[in-house]
Amino acid sequence: MKNIFATRWGLITVGAIIGILAPLLQKLGNPANMGICVACFERDIAGALGLHRAAVVQYMRPEIIGFVLGSMAAAYIFKEFRPRLGSATVVRFVLGVFAMIGALVFLGCPWRAVLRLAGGDGNAILGILGLTFGIWIGTLFLKKGYNLGRTQATHAAAGWMLPIIMLGFLILMVVFPQIQGQDKNDVLFYSTSGPGSMHAPLLVALIIGLAIGFLAQRSRFCTMGAIRDTVLFGQTHLLSGFISLVVFAFLTNLVLGQFNPGFAGQPVAHTMHVWNFAGMALAGLAFALAGGCPGRQLFLAGEGDGDAAVFVMGMIVGAGIAHNFGMASGPNGIGPHGIAAVVTGTLVCLFIGFTMRKKLA
């Protein structure tokens, strides 16, 4: 059976659906220009679990849970669930940690970078340029033979690990829901102010997350791959979906009155251009070396890829480190250790790129 979503028009349609739903989620309560941000939402999950104690970014985001479970449903329905792992797993964890640290210097993943652009935030341009630069560095390594080796087929249950964790998160959220005005319900932390306090209703966010997870698994939607394939092969297949997302998010923002052009005072953003660029360059390089944007890693984990699941865990842990160590930025600019974080992360990623060139027998 032909997979219509994996055609160019299928991908453009999926990009359009995400582009419409993300600003809609903002209308329904999610933070501005953050309808869906994989990095920010995983950071909020880290906060909900108490892995960091930044009071304004603590919420168990149902969209992320939906992404993984929706992808898993699609993979099972279309017989594409392939439990696999073992491709330099610990390296993927490290890449996940630094991808998150870089993203939090910019304040967003590639998804949010374009949603910020579609909302009029000019700082996003620096982020997208940085992202492209980082991915370009990654393609140079790919051309020189960089790769993390082969995966092995494994037990189906091994492929269920991240989906089960996500299900566990959902159960925690239902058992310990937010209490109005309280920053904690038993084990889960919540924000009473700031972006973490802003969210669409649980059920709506979960259903939209499931739908996007399902469609993205079918279409192989990937924001990093969009740029990488264009740079590496001159192939614009994935790019068409990414551009579709920007265009439809922009149009939806216009309709909803959410388009506010400018650089200063943009929501959950800062104007330090160099670090917007450098943070996203680090994230882009880490995504390119790991073979997928943060969204794609969630969808891969849903279809049984244990290495992608470890990358996701790396991102969640990385969010904890970023906030605990003062590496994450805020509306006023980069954190006290933001520069050290970007330099260290870039050195680590370059080390990985230079040293991991395995001849494939």
Partner: protein
């Protein structure tokens, strides 16, 4: 004789890189690419067609795919 490219277990974009390298540099007119995910199957097929090659046959064996490519 066809050259076989074993891209099983490799993550994106390795299967496509290996296939394009073989198309550009390999001597044989016929190439067999082995992959083990649907995404890789779609990506390799698309890349080969973009290089002007013909996809002769795609057969599945268990959870694996065997893609037969003929160079232009």
């Amino acid at each position: 004789m066809a050259t076989t490219v074993d891209a099983r277990g490799l993550s994106c974009p390795q299967p496509v890189i290996l296939t394009i390298n073989e198309i550009k540099k390999g001597k044989d007119k016929d190439i067999i690419v082995l992959v083990d995910t649907d995404t890789s199957k779609e990506n390799v097929t698309r890349a080969a067609e973009n290089q002007g090659c013909k996809i002769k046959e795609i057969s599945s064996e268990g959870s694996e795919y065997r893609i037969s490519i003929t160079k232009a």
